[in-house]
Symmetry: C2
Subunit: 416 residues, 2 copies
């Protein structure tokens, strides 16, 4: 029965807050006009979009003119990376030519992008595509096995003359580990660049998993680009991108879509007013309630981890829990050790728990590449469960999940 289930897969997606659904329905009902139309019907839609843009901006400490709505996180991530690549192509060869008087030899120069082994497919699959099609060079800077993070030194030692972008997520979707994005920005900013090198290395962070769980402020972080994904924080399935001082051309953004010139020509296509209204409302709710949500999630997550320890004792191995690294308040990545207990088998036996072994779009019966990349042993990684909690996850639900896991593990032990 659906009602007896306990959902602990909030890092995959979240339900929408009822107020968000109401905002969407109201906009669909009353503001269906084309925002480009000059009559009242259109202006009403445009006003809603403007208001939503303010809410997105306020939530992340940005100017509303730095926000572009997209169809989701994938579009935002792809577009940001593509923009850095195009910016390189449009500027770098000219720059090198101006300093050396040579043009031809430089025509093969490729933009170089630094990333990590823990990124979302919207980043790493796109980077692999750019690499495979000869459009970019990519360096996967190693993650630290003692912190589970992409450390500043690993980024700095990956920098090349043609480096144009560093892209690293703000919090990992599987481990919940918060990455040192602020420090990376500071370090990258202070790198001296000569005339034959790219003049600026842009930093992008995909904040999909961080927003709604920890404070996210673009100026504090110091990033040039940031990705916002509505459905990770009780909002709808659209997204937005932030680009610092967009209107002053400080941060390059190139369109992926060409057409009617919406979003100041950065993103053509008639605006999805309903979903945009919902995203604005979801951002407003985060802005107003973040601390309360974070406290509640952390309390339940800590209770879950205590119960896991008291139930499974030495068989419990928390993945991604490093004393030196901060974690999201809602994420528990845990392996229950034992040969017969790989994560996907445990989940298949559970009657109550709805969770995953990793990101929803990953294959579920292989050890997580992200866990392996931070040094988790393969036999531990294959047993991993990603338990990600929501704003309203109760201790009562945690108790039900613990009972469920106990039964599942007992059954698997008996079979083994």
């Amino acid at each position: 029965m659906a009602d007896s289930k306990v959902y602990m897969d909030y890092n995959a997606t979240t339900p929408l807050e009822p107020e968000v659904i109401t905002s969407i329905s109201e906009a669909l009902t009353h503001a269906w006009g084309n925002p480009s139309s000059s009559h009242d019907t259109g202006r009403k839609a445009k006003a809603i979009i403007d208001g939503a843009r303010e809410h997105v901006a306020t939530m992340i400490g940005a100017k509303s003119s730095d926000i572009i709505f997209t169809s989701g996180g994938t579009e935002a991530d792809n577009m940001i990376i593509m923009s850095a690549v195009q910016h390189f192509n449009d500027t770098y060869c000219k720059q090198v030519k101006a300093h050396t008087g040579q043009g031809d030899a430089d025509s093969q120069m490729l933009p170089h992008i630094i990333t990590s082994h823990m990124e979302h497919p919207a980043v790493n699959v796109y980077l692999e595509h750019l690499k495979d099609t000869g459009q970019a060079e990519v360096t996967y800077a190693p993650l630290s096995p003692t912190t589970g993070r992409l450390e500043v030194e690993a980024v700095l030692s990956s920098i090349q003359p043609n480096t144009v972008l560093v892209t690293v997520m703000l919090a990992n979707n599987e481990t919940g580990i918060i990455q040192p994005v602020r420090k990376i920005c500071e370090a990258v900013r202070s790198v001296h660049r000569n005339e034959l090198e790219t003049q600026k290395i842009f930093v992008h962070t995909d904040a999909a998993q961080a927003i709604g769980k920890i404070k996210v402020d673009v100026l504090e972080l110091g990033v040039d680009y940031l990705t916002v994904v509505g459905h990770k924080f009780y909002g709808p399935r659209i997204g937005a991108m932030f680009a610092l001082d967009l209107d002053s051309n400080v941060t390059p953004v190139y369109p992926m879509f060409f057409g009617g010139g919406q979003e100041r020509n950065f993103r053509s296509g008639t605006e999805n007013t309903g979903m945009i209204a919902g995203l604005g409302k979801a951002c407003e709710i985060v802005y107003n309630g973040l601390q309360e949500f974070a406290n509640s999630m952390e309390e339940s997550r800590n209770y879950l981890e205590e119960k896991l320890l008291s139930t499974f004792g030495e068989r419990v191995h928390f993945n991604g829990k490093f004393s030196s690294s901060e974690r999201l308040p809602n994420t528990c990545n845990v392996s229950i050790l034992g040969e017969g207990c790989p994560g996907h088998k445990v989940l298949a036996r559970c009657q109550v728990l709805q969770a995953s072994v990793g990101a929803a779009c990953h294959v579920q019966n292989r050890p997580s590449a992200i866990l392996l990349a931070i040094g988790v042993q393969p036999h531990i990684a294959r047993n991993a469960l990603r338990l990600s909690l929501g704003r309203y996850t109760s201790k009562h639900e945690v108790d039900a999940v613990i009972e469920d896991l106990k039964n599942a593990v007992n059954a698997l032990d008996a079979e083994g």
Copy 2:
């Protein structure tokens, strides 16, 4: 007062049918799971998406496996054109090389695309971008001033050895003129191609303005690609693309987004379940009610044109009304002649009518390029009003608009 307004801008966008809003709200409330998740929450969302895909396919006479959901018509149009370009790049040079033994000389060959001067910006702005960046050659085949259409002969005489795509809308958004897409497909199919020419010329039609107003069947039309835009037929702001026999690789489709591999890798990004559910419902409504809607729109449109004639007499000039060309049942493009009555001034004077002088994303105070392209004189084109009616536009509303127009024109005449 908003309630006294009469909206006659249904070609810009439509309100959503209440059932569509209900479908969206229900999906957002009950099927918010990640469709890639393997647990119940995810499967419920996936089932809704599958059902919606069936509805889209049924509406246009396609297989559901030939449908890819997109964020809207702009994405679909861009992606289809990009796919044809990439297909050319991946196949044609190899083909020519195999037949001539030469490779180098062919490396500069560009794909050639035939289109018209009346396309939506999602087609023509993108084509201009491809042209400007040296990625494609584009021919604008002339429109016929005696039919207002892109005639078969104009397409055929534009074909080159490197032609890979013909893209023409099914019905024009300003004039409502239905284009001879079926005949174009037949003619293009029967063109003999030799070994040094592209082996297939694909045909794409953007059916944004046709769906919900006339029957649209991909097999009857014979097209390879077709664009579906929800918000033009009382559905939400997302879209879909049709590609013939997609699963058999008959029609090339290349992804624009790279990431989690959703939509069989053709369109990465977590699916917008709510909006997809709404699109499915809107398609179902069209499939069941098309004839009734078309009859109702045509009756009101014809009544509108009669009243315009009886009110303004010889000052009325219908643009795009040719005896030999079929029109959409809902569209009336009319100029009320007189120097003081340019379209944007008439609309600004209207108290009741909400309409436009052309497409919503075009500048409103210039004569329509589309009208000029079909031979309408500039002094007539600048006076054009696009009055586009909806499923429920009543004669009572038409009467109110006629009265409103009469007052506006009288006032402008008095000033003149």
